[in-house]
Amino acid sequence: MVAFLIRRVVGMVLVLIAVSFITYLIFIKIPGGDPAQRLAGRTATHANIESIRIKLGLNHPFIVQWFDMVKSLLSGTLVSYFNGGTNVVDQIKQGLPATFSLCLGAGIIWLFFGILVGVISAASAGRFSDRAITALALIGISLPVVWLGLVLRYLFAEGGWISSFPDGGYYPFTQNPWEWATHLILPWITLAVLFIGFYGRVLRSNILDTINEDFVRTAKAKGLSPRRIMTKHVLRASLIPIVTLFGLDFAAVLGGGAIITETVYSLQGVGYYAYQSIQAQDLPALMGVTLYGAAFIVVFSVLVDIAYAYLDPRIRLT
């Protein structure tokens, strides 16, 4: 176990280094991406641009720039190009409560309903309820998140058709839990719908495969009740791949991946910040957000592997 962890931690560090490098590289290569030019404005002279360039350290070799950026990130202050030089790390920290609240809530909802949907459609496989659920799941997967978000706002948010919920914006939990929740209900649903459909389909397919396994036949031969066979044998085996999926999907949204949902509902989370940085082509901010997201994915993938080994005794961690 220790050997496993050491190897994975080393791997993680290497991945993060590579991610930062590639992000940097991509950014440099984007046409029109010269920050000095954009900062200076349209009427800038060549000298102005050069002075800005020197100020930002853009005249140094590529490797040096990259190294400096990583160094400042690690020390906790990475200065953004724009917005008067705000600290990227602080900005990310400010976005955490919103992102966490959104993702934790949505995650619980989509896991619960995804499993429910999967079990019901597998149990009624081939019949009407299965087909209906499948259709709904496919619709859920196909709906563009931005469209769904806007439609839900239009229908259910304040000033909309059935004015039930506040229209966007994040309300901190510590201030008023009720407000916090009502502000998040629509975003939770928006984010969860896509995943519910997907997880439901995956689980359905796993269940239907597992039912035909030999060990389920043995369980029946022992005279176990259908309920016990389903819960202790079929579900236990079918849910293992869901654990892997969930681990990585959750990591992705937690890492600032719910960009669209956060933007549509004006939740000032990390995802929203990522959106803004892309628009502004703010390299330090982008670097910060990307590494933040990558860190989540990498850590969660190790956690998922550990969970998998716990759930399936045949797997040994190496």
């Binding site: 030999d214 044998h233 005794p313 045949r314």
Partner: protein, 341 residues
Amino acid sequence: MSEPLLEVKDLSVSFATEDGTVRAVDGVSFGLERGKVLGIVGESGSGKSVTAMTLMGLTRGVNARFGGEVLYNGTNLLEVSDRAMQTYRGSELGMIFQDPMTSLNPVYRIGEQIVEAIRAHEKIGKAAARRRAIELLHQVGIPNPESRVDNFPHEFSGGMRQRAMIAIALSCNPSILIADEPTTALDVTIQAQIVDLISTLKDEFQSSVIFITHDLGVIAEIADEILVMYAGRVVEQGTKRDIFYDPQMPYTWGLLGSIPRLDRPRVKRLHTIKGMPPSLINPPEGCRFRPRCPHAFEKCAEEPVLESRVDAPGHLDRCWLTVDEKRARRDATISPTTEAA
């Protein structure tokens, strides 16, 4: 002659599929007495596994249709409710399957899986059930049962897994143990151990055994009575000696003749049965073996009846040839020194 424990009368099982109705079992009858071993021999598609699974009620489903009766202690298991069938499975009828690796749930320990089987039918505490599980593992010959009871299936070898399966099947003292190709996936030395084990345990637990296999050698060792199945039907039935020393059905001759045998000198060419087993959706008219039978004649176009044509009343077969004709042609087929008939 004691009362048969199990009586199967004219059992038929068919499945509705996209390509048509598959008549997997078509009119099978037999009886099983207490303490006896019934061997069912056949190749793939013969219906032997479907018969076994039907006895356990494992073929019940949307697409299955049943006919005939399966009388266990007077009750027709085909008509019993699903819930009631559940109580029979494991406690009165135990079953073991071909591949012990996939037949055990890989994420639960062996002990847990045995305890589960016991507690499904008996009101007994976990500790007591675990003690019984250890005792069962000991009875099936697993060394160090106290520690191995907590192993996972993948920590056991193939032979040991099959022993664990046997322990599970016998845990509630069933009257009948159904073994569906239990040794096919095992090495020959392990196979010998398992066959021995089943023989010994059947006496210890006083169970009857239905042993299904395609291996005639194994059947010769363990079975008292034998059913030979082909294309969903019983084509020959009798005691061990009847089948091996006076087989009446050309299919049985074919089976016996096409095995390379260690107790006889080598032959130049193996006897073969030409062609392939028939479709179960559109079986041939008349005798189902007719397309592959080198001895077929006009009468074979008419469905042969399963009856006793020899002196021994328990020896039944489905072949229109007279007994003398059979014996003459048979020796030409099975004898190792001549070419195939």
